[in-house]
Symmetry: C2
Subunit: 407 residues, 2 copies
Amino acid sequence: MKSDIDALMKKRGLDAIFVTGGEGQNMLRHYMTNGAHISGGYVIQKYGAKPMLIINPMEAEEAKKSGYAIRNYKELGAYSPYYLPPQEQIEFWATCLREAGIDFGRIGVYGQGEIETYIELVQLANTHFEQYQFVGETGLTLFEEAFITKDAAEIETLKRVAVHTNEAMAAAWDFIASHKADASETVVKADGSPLTIGDVKRLVRVELLKRDLQDTGMIFAQGRDAGFPHSHGEDAMPLKLGQPIVFDLFPHEIGGGYYHDMTRTWCIGYAPPEVQQTYDEVMQAFDISLEMFGVGKPLYVMQEAVQDFFESKGHATSRSNPKTMEGYVHGLGHGLGLNIHERPSISHILRDDVWQAGNVVTIEPGLYYPDKGIGMRIEDMFIVSETGELISYTPFKKDLVLPLNGA
Amino acid sequence: MKSDIDALMKKRGLDAIFVTGGEGQNMLRHYMTNGAHISGGYVIQKYGAKPMLIINPMEAEEAKKSGYAIRNYKELGAYSPYYLPPQEQIEFWATCLREAGIDFGRIGVYGQGEIETYIELVQLANTHFEQYQFVGETGLTLFEEAFITKDAAEIETLKRVAVHTNEAMAAAWDFIASHKADASETVVKADGSPLTIGDVKRLVRVELLKRDLQDTGMIFAQGRDAGFPHSHGEDAMPLKLGQPIVFDLFPHEIGGGYYHDMTRTWCIGYAPPEVQQTYDEVMQAFDISLEMFGVGKPLYVMQEAVQDFFESKGHATSRSNPKTMEGYVHGLGHGLGLNIHERPSISHILRDDVWQAGNVVTIEPGLYYPDKGIGMRIEDMFIVSETGELISYTPFKKDLVLPLNGA
């Protein structure tokens, strides 16, 4: 968590971190500014000190929300550092570092931005400055490691986003249920025109907005489309009875912030026997997952237990056949926070992560048979409590069949 | 524009470009895949050839929308390249390059992603491979140069987004106008409770969604807040009569895509004389801008004409006083497309850009006096037509006073 950053710097031999990035709000700026909406500039943290923000003067009011020391470009002699030629831009970095009390040392450069630019600027800076060494990082980076556990303020936000996301999904269920079907098993509106995936997505986006959340690309995929885990669904497609629909909803706070991530699979009106049976297996896998939990245990054993189970039922998995496009083809879950996907991962490939208090993860087994028009996934978000319990914050019901009650 | 990419590669001595980036949809992937919603992987374009997409197999259906050749991770022997240790990750880059017919050469690396990771990976790759040289770019990059002009398909999209954004702003005007004021000059709802900035923003977000657009952080700032060009406004603040409100709306297509960007300044009920006078000067500056347009002319002369005018009226500008926080404190405009800010720029600092057909830019003079509770800006989006005319696609009226007609 954020309070670990000094320790994480020490572990990496860093005297400071320099957080930069492209224009626009981004996740690392959000994290390092306590959610102030800064759309440019730098955050510098010297080992053992509080962060300092270097900002566009136009963002002075917003930056104050961070609670940290602030310097603006103009005070430090630049109109906008992004406009400066490379040599002057790295000189401005040095000005900022000195302002934050860093006269020499090993500086970790972090951020989301234009790769092409930073490759060159860092190389130039390392050639130019004797007193500074700028370094990147591969593998589990400082921030990826910090994100593995969330602090109390983050947990509170994640719980609030969870409540609101579940409400939006419930609104979608109720909205669909208020319709009826015609003789061709198409779900129709009062005027007889088909209810489409686009109609549902528009309703959900508005329900999210009412709760100050923003859709980031929900999946609402029916039939064959549901069989591809990341197919988003076609807006024009009418909803049909008896076809599995994968509804994966992962909004974040408006303007950028914390995520929720949940998936339900629905069959409108009725479920054909093969769909019901496949669904029952996914639900069994979900329950098996929870049995494998324990603080201190590695996460990958949970994925392997689910793979064992699915393989025992005759399904291919990405372990039994790494090239398979059918069966159980993805990881069991992932951390989430300011990123939709972060560590820890419940994967048979990444085997280092171990359960600890403050983890926030999804658990999401699924089965995919696009050629049969079948795809399904169930996903809750869990928080590992201070007392070491794995608690779901995705209470919305897991019914497969969504009955229509429209007159 | 996109069809220039080969020429732009040649100019930079590149044999290929390798577009990568972090997880999630990003602007370069959108551009290089013709809007397919790919949330990972690479786009490789060899000089003289069409792009090839390297994708997560789960995104196969979505990737097809690009119309380009596709290879998935599993076909090329990886579960996910992002999970690989650095050495294996760059070996996978080489596998992908060979797959795209690139056995050697100078490769431009582009994308939006984790700076820390790419600094290290590119360095490693350049040490490891004799046959490839990976390079970044500073200054006006290949894509920044490509974005300076838009092709017909992009212009069509930008026009559609413009129409819908103007409609959403009109809805906000009508919504506010339907209210009344109380004795304290507060705008109130039917039940007497104050109408707040948050109420207006929620209405606008829904109006945008109805039109398949997404807010990316609109500014609706009143009084002193309006005096800071990038202050977003406080949700809880009630709307008041006679205070200038800067309403800057810059949504993009849902899920990422093309932007519109427009600003209006409103005074509800009435405008105090000083506000009206300042507004008139901003409108004069707007008209002066348009007179300075001409294909082949540099853009900076437009900014300088506006600075000349504002200075003649006694306002500080960032030319007359680079540290000023009052007066005219920003550039006159910027290109936009898949980025909210791109080249060309109407700035006295960047002096290289020259008007040409296919430019899409904002023009947005403003004046800011936070201590007087005054801030204002007027912004339209313009397209330079094939016949060399500067045409506004922001038709919404530029009235300062927004009269209330609530009963």
